[in-house]
Structure formats: C-alpha cells, structure tokens
Symmetry: C2
Subunit: 397 residues, 2 copies
Amino acid sequence: MARRVAIVGTGHSRFGVRYDVSIPELAFEAIREAVNEAGIGFDDIELVVVGNAGGWSSEPLPAIVVNEYAGLSGKATLRVEAACSTGSAAIKTARDAIASGDADIALAIGVEKMNESPTPTVVEFIGRAGNYFWEFENFGLTFPGYYALYATSYMFQYGAREEDFCSVAVKNHYYASMNPKAHFPRKISLEDCMRSRYVAWPIKLLDSSPITDGAAAVILASEEIAYKITDSPVWIEAIGAASDTSNISKRTTFTSLEAARLAAQRAYKKSGLDSESIVKNLDLAEVHDCFTIAEIMAYEDLGFVKRGEGYKLAREGQTYIGGLIPVNLSGGLKAKGHPIGATGVSMAVDITRQLLGRVEKGRQAEIRHGRGLAHNIGGTGHYAYVTIYSLSKPRGD
Amino acid sequence: MARRVAIVGTGHSRFGVRYDVSIPELAFEAIREAVNEAGIGFDDIELVVVGNAGGWSSEPLPAIVVNEYAGLSGKATLRVEAACSTGSAAIKTARDAIASGDADIALAIGVEKMNESPTPTVVEFIGRAGNYFWEFENFGLTFPGYYALYATSYMFQYGAREEDFCSVAVKNHYYASMNPKAHFPRKISLEDCMRSRYVAWPIKLLDSSPITDGAAAVILASEEIAYKITDSPVWIEAIGAASDTSNISKRTTFTSLEAARLAAQRAYKKSGLDSESIVKNLDLAEVHDCFTIAEIMAYEDLGFVKRGEGYKLAREGQTYIGGLIPVNLSGGLKAKGHPIGATGVSMAVDITRQLLGRVEKGRQAEIRHGRGLAHNIGGTGHYAYVTIYSLSKPRGD
C-alpha cells in the first residue's frame, strides 16, 4: 500500500425503524458524530463515498442528497454498491483514494432506509439480489430460503442442531443489550429463539436479522494528516475482496462461502498475518450474521476453526468475551440490525471503538493484539469483503 | 499520485437499441474486446469496477451478473454510480485501486440497458435524477426542461440562437457518421435540426441525446505492468471530481455548471497544466453533450473560451478538426449515444484510440500534444468528472 490510511473519526446513528428521518437526515446523524469525533471541519473533507444499495425509495441519487443535507456539496463524490457488503466497499473506495494520494481526508458513509420500501414486500425485494433470473423469478427463492439451504446442508454434514444456531442469536442479543444504538437492545433466551416461528426451516424468526434503517460513518485520513488530527488513529491494515457466482446451483458447497474464504485469504496475505493462527492475532471480529448459520459459516471461512467445527464454537460459548475469539460484540446484524449499505461501515465503527477501549462496559473486548476483523458478505455469498483494523501502523511497501 | 496508471486495453460495444442482448452479454462485447486488445488473460484481472446507474431492469446486482457471464467470478468487485458520470467514477475507482498498490490490473466496465425500462417512461425515470423531492415530484421537471432553462438563460444572457445549438448537433452527427459503433452514424443538416420538433423550447429533438443501450471497457494497469503489456500505454494524467446541489433553485447561475468548473480546475491543478491556456495542451476533448446547450456550457466551464463565448466556437466551427479544439469526434452523447453508466468509459476508449491514431480516417484528430480530456456530467450538474489522458507519463509525487 502506497500510503497508510487510518480511521480518525467514527459516527453511528441509532439503528431501528426510523420513520422519523429521511435518508439524508439519517446519514447526517452519523456524519456529524464522525466529523465531531475527528475534530475536523466539513471543509476538510475532500471525498465522500456513499454506500447505499438503494432501490427502497424513489430517490435515485442518494449520494447527492446525503452530501447536500450535510453541507458537503462541491466535494468529489460517488455512490458504491456491493449488495450487503456495500459499506465495506465504500470504505475500500475511500481508502484507495487516500492511499493513492488522490485525497488526504475522505468520508465513507453507509446509509439505508429499508422500512419504507415501495416494493410489495421487503423480503421479495431483497430476494431479487440472489440469482434474479433463475432462482428468484423462476423458483421464488428469497434469502431465508437460501440460508435455510445452507443450514440444512450444514446440519446434515456436520451434525449441528437448531439449538446451536439459536445460541448465536442469544449471544448477539446479549451484547446488543449493552449497545444503545442497536435495533434490538435486549436479551433473548435459547427458549425464546427455539420457540420463535419458522421462517424457512430450520431458520426461525430469531435466527434472522431484522429490516433496519440506519447509518454509520468513518473519517479516513492519510498517515501524515492522521497524526495531526488524533493521538489514536486506527489503521486499515488490509482489505481482501472477492466475489462468486450468484447461481447457487453452480456452487460446489452450501456449507461455506467461497468468496468469504478467498477474501479472508487475500486480507491475511496483504497483512502478512498467518492464516493458520489468525485467532491468535485478533482481539475481536464482527461477522456477517444475516442469519445465525451465516455466523457459524464465517467462523470456518475465516479460519477461526476447522471446517465443520464452527457450530462447536457457538455451542461452547467460545465467541463470547473470554472465549477463543469474541464475535459480534456490537450485537451483529442479528440484533444491532442490518441496514444494508451501513452494515460494513458500522462494523468499522464498532471495531475502532473496541480497539480504543471506548465501548460500553460489559461488551468491551480485552485488547491485547490491537487488531480486529470485519467480515461483510453481499448477496448469498456473491460479494465478500474482509477488512483488518489495527492499532499498530501497518508495514509499508 | 503514488503509482502511475495507464490504459492498456479498450473495448466498445455497438451503441443503439439493443434488445438483442442482456446486460451481461452487452458488457461482454466491450470486455472481450478490451481484454483481447490488452493481450492479457481474464485471470490477470484482479479488480472489476462496474459502472451502472441501474434501475432500468429488475436486476439488482449488475456487477455480479456482468462478472459471472464474463468468467470473472471470484474477482474483487463493486458497482459504482454517479448518475450520468458513472463511467468516469468507475475509471477513477479502478485507477485509485491500482495507484494505491491494491491491484496491478483492473477492469473498468460501464454498461447500461435503458430501452427496456420498466418505469412509465424513460424520461420520467431519468427525471427523478434531477431534484427528486421538490423539482420532480412537485413541479414535474425532467431533463429536457432543465436544459431548456439553461438554454433560455444562455440565449438571454449572451445572445446565442437556436441555430448555434443545432450547429453542435450537426458537428456531432458528422463525426458519428464515421463511427461504426455510434447509435446514429449518420449526418444531419442544420435544417434537419431546426425543423425537428420541440421537446422543451428551445430544445428540439435533434438537440437531445438518445436513449441508448451500450457498454465500454478499459483495462488499467500499474506502470510496471503496463510496460510489460503494451508499447503504447495511455496514461491517466489527472482526474478532477466535484459535485453540486441537485436543487437548481439554489444554483447561482443557469449558464454554467459549478461542479464542472470545479472538477476542471482540480484536474488542471493535479496535472500541473495551466488552466488559462488549456486548449494549447490538448489535442481533443470529449464533452458531455446530453443536450447541445450542454456542450456549449462545457466549452466555457473547461476554460476553452471565456464565459459567454462558447456559442461562438460552435457558430464558427472551431470545435471541428482543424479548429481551436476538436470536440466530440466520437459523435458525442448526441449521436454516438448515451448509455448512462457506459458514457464516461466510452469517452476514455475513444480518447485512447484517438491518441494512438487508431480511429477511422476523417474523425482522427491531429495528435501534437498527446493529450485528451473527458468531461462527464451527472444529473443536471450534480456530479462532474474531468479526466485527462496523456501519451506522456505523468510526473510522479
């Protein structure tokens, strides 16, 4: 990487059903907080990358209205989309612009308002982001159905039980209960989850992430500027990105996402970390738990454990604080919420605050290695972005 | 700029009404040509940036289907959108990734299929990309209306006539007649244009760019790789980007696009070119002539002439080959066509081929400075990207 890039400010709206705000107002909740935290002026921002999957409202140019409301008209700007990994793509786009020397300070803002979808149902609309032509239009597959296929395959292959999936939901709700920005800041019991109604067997309502409105923002700066702005930069150590066929009939396995595995390997290679002992280098991870089975697959795709052993981490509570590797201390997509374009940025915000020891007591990880990982998936594994954040300045070229 | 980045391959589909192909098929026409021209393998591409404004079809993840059809599944990828300047945003995103050291070879592909729009009318759908909330929903303004406001202001302020606007259309159709990829590869006369029906006075049908399907692609490479691939790299010398309010009631002028002026100044500053004598450094320009008035405003926003004198360039034929500065030798948006996400990439393709002396006789510019400029606008001036391409390797940091 030509120039090192750090996060110097973070902002996060309240996640939830936000009929009270428009898209630009929602975005501004996060932007204002990030700019204030960085202690910069709006004029200092040179580039604004807006992560928004869009399609939920009739507003076709979200980047423009977000910038205008925030007083950022005039800046270089664009919108990026990578399905549910849009937020991570926005961070990468802003990171690349700074690392290339094109800008010194950039804002990556992810925002999504999903609850006002004009389409028949939100689930139908999201369903189009599977494999539209064959699997949605012809077979009617939507996302709970896709992840139910993954879950049944996983149960059959490795002997996981529905309780194992629900244990992920219990953990994530437990940590969300301490996160005031979460969509569902409350605990649930294993029984609550197991008794919740089936959405697509074996996936139940409480195995599923909610339809959330929200925004998250990070201010990124070049090394030189970062040190002028803050005493506590959090560095983007490496980003690995990958993609895969949308057509699950072409996938070779339903118990792993090849794009996630590839993205992780690319990120580990770029950071110089040993993929065989990755958990020994991380203090925490935020992973893409759109459904509870997805978190278990992530454990394996990221190399935290061997293939087929992810469910044991969940069963044994090894992804709580104090376990092998704490995962989704924010509450995850499951309980913090999943406003598509904001999710990847929200992961960055939470990991940054974790590394700096600034989150609520009870969900604060012990920081020993000074390093956290974000795993963000788009579609049913179409896109994957794995981003590693670190307190230590990454090696140069 | 940390690492220099060059275009090492270009591809361009036939522009027009393309009911004969799907989005990924259309994209592949351009991708295949670009990969072949670069003489690389598909495996050599590390990153694919897909420029697609979208919303025309029910396909929500165009980047994924484009990659999959082209055999590029697995690559790092994302979709970018900056309204009608989407293609330039895609090039900048790919350029930044290479300049930052994140990738050595990247593909920027712009593609749009507009003629199968499921919305009531295409003009209505595009109209939403003005100022949606106030100007579209409340006042019914669509793009011909916006540019008619610009045209009437310009006529009133500077004394331009409808014939001056039409002279732009005549020139662009003249050059399109020699471009086999153009949507309308045929000449028109000044009378044809003047007699065409009004769309929104003083804008007539033949002052307007058509609704076009098309794709264009460029392969970008780092300096080290570029020299291994080709003897004739065309360098991205500088990119200037800017934005503006969508709300024209907040604009201070209707005869200039502030974002375009800003983007140009940023590009000139980055390239080290003197903005006062910019035409002396350029062999040609491709500018955003969505309507003929837009080309005349571009002459001024880019500093080719003083404010209020752009129409004289058109009137005097100074933007033909042999004049002060040849503009839109491809046929421009007006006659080559304007498939939104592809347009900025199409500009890059044509300028590259011009600089290398590879376009059709009759529309080949004389190359003396080895430098061409692309001016790409989004919305009614919401976005602007000005990109300078050069045969000479740009200065380093």
